[in-house]
Symmetry: C2
Subunit: 360 residues, 2 copies
């Protein structure tokens, strides 16, 4: 029975070798390495219960014949896919792209792929839709940027299916393990202090809608920054808008129509800031000279406007890397840099031409 044909088929090619016209499977590896499938499986999955000697031998063979495990077969057997989901309800394209890129920075090369799932949180079938998504795909993990990160019902669904997740938000919403905190308030505070430091005293705020936690945080941070300079946010200078360009235009018009218009305006995002700039200009004032404007996000818009917009930047791509590092941890091939295992990031003010000293 134990008669073994001790034939060593030395393969020279480093490319993927074809077995029977197809790419090699775990069976091919097992047969050639004279071990069982299970041992190969253990090696693929970095199980510690494999003798060093065996591991080396099999790994060499795997590399030689160019074997890579089939994600579907793995998924079927293990009831867990090699897909990371990004669920978002975000109107800011640059944000989404950066986030996607950040996630991919980390998962690329580890056999994982990124599944994108835009959605509209206010749609009636939103939860059902997401539920079907996570149930069927058995995701390895889900990244939740704002504002879906704030949706507790959504998170409950993820928990129900035992799906790992990371919530990215301006404040901690969950256990640290599940959170990336962006501290938007700090950035807003810095913006306020920047404006106050330039001598402005009549400073307005155009904020995002209540449905976004970030809108609240940015406003709160801004108020705090004012307070540090003994200023307060006047009621008539405190305008609620919608994070959209048009709502920014409207807000700007209202502000500039006041009998005593503000000399500086901090906006909850760049879109609104761009709208405000337009309204300010319409009213005959010059941005950065008569009226200073600050945005938030550092969207591409900010640097292309004229004058370029002073704004607050968050390291979105890094956040994406942090989130996926959180999710996959040891499953990854490369050790992530220290920075990317942390759970917090901090916004930073970028000063450009749209802000200037208050005129005496």
């Amino acid at each position: 029975m134990s008669r073994d044909m001790t034939r060593k088929p030395k393969r020279a090619k480093a490319e993927t070798i074809s077995f029977n016209g197809k790419r090699p499977t775990i069976n091919d590896v097992a047969r050639l390495a004279r071990v069982s499938k299970k041992t190969v499986s253990r090696i693929i999955n970095k199980s510690p219960f494999v003798k060093e000697k065996t591991r080396e031998r099999v790994e060499a063979l795997i590399k030689e014949i160019g074997y890579t495990p089939d994600p579907m077969a793995r998924g079927l057997a293990s009831k867990r896919s090699f897909l990371v989901g990004l669920i978002y309800d975000q109107p800011n394209p640059q944000y989404v792209i950066d986030m996607q890129q950040g996630i991919l920075d980390v998962i690329r090369g580890s056999g994982f792929e990124l599944l994108v799932h835009p959605c509209r949180r206010q749609a009636p079938d939103f939860l059902q839709n997401v539920r079907a998504f996570v149930e069927r795909q058995k995701l390895a993990g889900v990244v939740l940027p704002p504002s879906v990160s704030e949706d507790d019902a959504l998170v409950e669904i993820l928990q129900e299916f035992g799906c790992p997740y990371v919530r990215i938000a301006s404040v901690p919403l969950d256990e640290a393990e599940h959170s990336i905190v962006t501290h938007d308030a700090e950035g807003a505070q810095e913006a306020a202090e920047h404006l106050a430091g330039l001598g402005h005293t009549r400073i307005a705020h155009v904020s995002g809608p209540d449905t976004f936690r970030s809108a609240h945080e940015r406003r709160a941070g801004f108020v705090k920054g004012l307070k540090a300079h003994k200023l307060k946010l006047e009621r008539e200078l405190d305008i609620k808008a919608a994070y959209t360009f048009q709502s920014g235009v409207d807000a700007g018009r209202r502000l500039m129509a006041l009998s005593d218009p503000p000399t500086a305006i901090f906006c909850g995002n760049d879109e609104m800031a761009a709208g405000v700039c337009q309204a300010v200009r319409e009213a005959g004032y010059e941005i950065g000279k008569h009226v200073s404007v600050v945005g938030f996000d550092d969207s591409p818009l900010a640097s292309r406007l004229w004058p370029a917009l002073t704004t607050v930047v968050l390291p979105i791509r890094l956040m994406g890397r942090m989130a996926s590092t959180r999710l996959l941890g040891e499953s990854l091939i490369h050790e992530p840099p220290q920075e990317e295992t942390l759970g917090e990031v901090h916004p930073k003010l970028v000063v450009r031409g749209s802000t200037g000293a208050a005129r005496a």
Copy 2:
């Protein structure tokens, strides 16, 4: 030995009926319907060889117990996944987002999902990277927007693995079946005629890099439009740039530094147009009054600039829908609208404030 099952069975209105604590499988359906797995499989896959009576009975049961097939198991057995890939090398976030959304418009609800794969075409491991991607994922199809659509080596890989693909490009690059043609030249021509029609005669062009087919097409269409008005593109007004904001600034500066600067500038994309606008302004001229500027893409930037940019718009999202409709065809649940089974789209000029009559 107290059982510490601290898990809360939080059943949030589960639609699907649980079988043995798990979601139903094809076996459950077969058993309950008193048919074989294979018959259920036929029904799922819309095989015509099932008696109408049987089909109805089983479909009713499927709906009742909320069965949905497991994409992994299907994929493993059929050697084809239910994932659509989007491979792109695109710096324009809005383009990518729209394309993603368009693809999802079509595939959502049909059990397909979208896998995104950004890449850098000039990276040394680009092809190897893509090869591993398509080989391992066994994609149901791949959408190739510009500029990856122009990469023949990439397409060859897709063909090698029998992976369906659609190339989106300004001109037909492949059999009609594999192409979505955007006719960028038409849009550029329209832009040229718009400017000429406003009385401009000294019209410049700032074009994208040679590595983009669209750059060539847009320039060609522009020249054609000029010719229709008996104008030609002067050598000194024909500037090659890089599709980036900064390259637009540089190009604009060069143009405005000429002894006889142009009174109108058509740019290969909005990014460069924004840059040109900045340079024009620096030079002391007013956009839309002294110098008219036209862009291409209708990126968010275009409408937020001041004055808003006249530009050429392509229906990106529709293109995404067309591409995925091409790929999946009958596999889809909903019949796509007529428009989305076509293979061509046409750009359209959007006139805004950045263009105005030439001054006498």
